[in-house]
């Protein structure tokens, strides 16, 4: 999804300050939305609005999760976590998308069962203003979270934005269902059909992001060419060195690599250190996704 940013600033410091405020407002906003949707759903017999309200509760939970993870992800590495805290945001985002997929599945199953049981209740037209107000607020939450998420390249805020986006879809479906249901009791089924379609859209949208975050947490590399390119860089820089093994792990969006090298026994430690610096510079230039490199001495 590509959207225009909410403000023209490209100053990362400004964006970071803004993102903290956005998350705080998101939690408050979603709590308010959950309250009015659940109350509105109960009073107007709208099952779509009620389901929407429960989804807003999950938005509150994921926003708090993302907020906590963002605080930790800024920390530098220490004794407990020598590779840093950057991955925490991806774990939080994966959890958020897992919850969203779970919600999608629940919405699909419950509404399918409702259709099979012919459990249709005609929602009251008074549910419409509640949904319209909540849609407007949700749209603002979605846009601001997405703006901050894309500017800061933050998977957590993007996840939060997607969650609000899914909420928008479900609110849209509820609006359609409420309007159509006013044509008569036989149209009450549209309430469930709309919710079903929304559930499918939520699952489909979330799966792509879920997979992306999973790949980062699993330290997935692009393929065999990752190792091949590192071997080629080392061979091109100093052919007397030979790469024996490669270890890697994700440090946020970038990689730490540990390269096992078969070193020539001529020369001194100082000369070897110079070669290591050359390798380091060449590797980072050839593969910008590598942010940290350690070299290990292997013996024949």
């Amino acid at each position: 999804m590509t959207e225009k940013p909410m403000c023209p600033s490209h100053d990362l410091q400004v964006c970071r300050v803004c993102s903290k405020k956005i998350l705080g407002w998101t939690v408050l906003g979603n709590t308010f939305l959950a309250g009015i949707k659940i109350a509105g759903g109960v009073l107007t017999n709208s099952s779509g609005l009620l389901a929407d309200g429960f989804q807003s509760i999950s938005c509150v939970a994921t926003s708090i999760l993302i907020m906590v993870s963002l605080v930790f992800s800024q920390r530098s590495s220490d004794e407990r976590f020598p590779y840093g805290y950057a991955k925490i945001e991806f774990i939080a985002a994966l959890s958020a998308f897992s919850i969203l997929i779970g919600i999608g599945l629940f919405v699909v199953m419950s509404n399918l069962l409702g259709i099979m049981r012919r459990d249709f209740i005609q929602p009251d037209i008074m549910a419409l203003p509640v949904v319209l107000v909540s849609t407007l607020l949700t749209y603002m939450i979605y846009r601001y979270n997405f703006c901050a998420g894309t500017k800061l390249d933050s998977p957590g805020m993007v996840a939060n934005g997607c969650h609000a986006g899914a909420d928008l879809f479900s609110s849209g479906a509820v609006i359609v269902a409420i309007i159509v249901a006013q044509f008569g009791p036989s149209f009450a089924v549209f309430d469930k059909i709309a919710a079903l379609i929304v559930g499918v859209i939520i699952i489909k949208d979330s799966l792509g992001h879920w997979k992306g975050n999973l790949q980062i947490i699993l330290d997935q590399v692009s393929g065999p060419e990752f190792q091949r390119s590192i071997t080629q860089v080392i061979a091109a820089t100093a052919p007397e060195y030979r790469m024996v093994h490669l270890k890697y792990r994700r440090v946020g969006k970038s990689f730490w690599v540990g390269v096992g090298l078969l070193c020539p026994v001529k020369g001194t430690v100082s000369q070897n250190a110079e070669h290591m610096e050359q390798f380091r510079a060449a590797l980072v230039a050839a593969r910008p996704e590598i942010s940290a490199v350690d070299f290990f001495i292997e013996t024949a």
């Binding site: 590399v221 430690v269 350690d294």
Partner: protein
Amino acid sequence: MTKRTMDPVKEYKEQTVYVLFYFFTVFCLLNTIFGVLSGSKCLFVSGIFALFGVLISVVTLLRIGRSYPGHRKMLHFNPEKLELIVLLGASAIMALCTAALFFVIGHMAFFDTLYPPGLLAAWVALITALASLGFMLWVKYGIDDLPEIDMHEVSFILDAYFLLSVMTMVTVVLARAGGVLVDYACAIFAAFFLTLYSVKFIGASFRGLMDGSCDKDTVGAVEKIMRKVRADVVLKELRVNKRGHILQIIAIIVLEGGMPMREAAVTVQQIKAGFRKKFLTPHEIFVGITEQR
């Protein structure tokens, strides 16, 4: 068609873990079903506890498969992270379910009609206790070295399972003698304990996914052995992480800039060989060198 030859060590390991897997699965089903049928909340919760044993068995089977890749293509990710995600997901679900159980049983104790469990629950608990005891002895004396499985964890689960079964028998007797609330109280206690246990697994898998350092005792032990092997070596950096059941040790040592590389290579070789002799936990050690400034 040629038959694929199986590694006998891998086969033994897999068979051992499958035995544990079937034990925990069968008793999980037995305890939960008979817990519902007999009305014993304590028996039901002990059935849920057996799921931890199932989870550990599944993760161990993944680990054994990973240790013997065989005909599999090279993976382009770190497979021990997949085990951790399975553990994290399952533990999170278990924590939510057991926490919900805690509140549901509490609600039943305060607001529903109380009734004692059937005697059937005591018989099922007795069978479970005897089976757990048998397996505890088998795990302690009958299994060869299996580094892929965390034997302490399995022993702990079996011990706790035995105690839960004994507690179930006692609560059934007491409940039928007039103390109906005993069954509810013990089930609430067990559900609370299970929630805490799930949280422990969540913490451990989260730390593993974040590539967190091992506990201070392990790091201290590694450093101590390193000093024993080469007391003169200056350690610039030491990182000790767990990769599944294998400890990954990264040591960056400081050497004089003028030292010949031949001597440096011998130093590294001595450190690695000495370490392999003295440190018996499965590990992989990588040594890097940096010059003294």
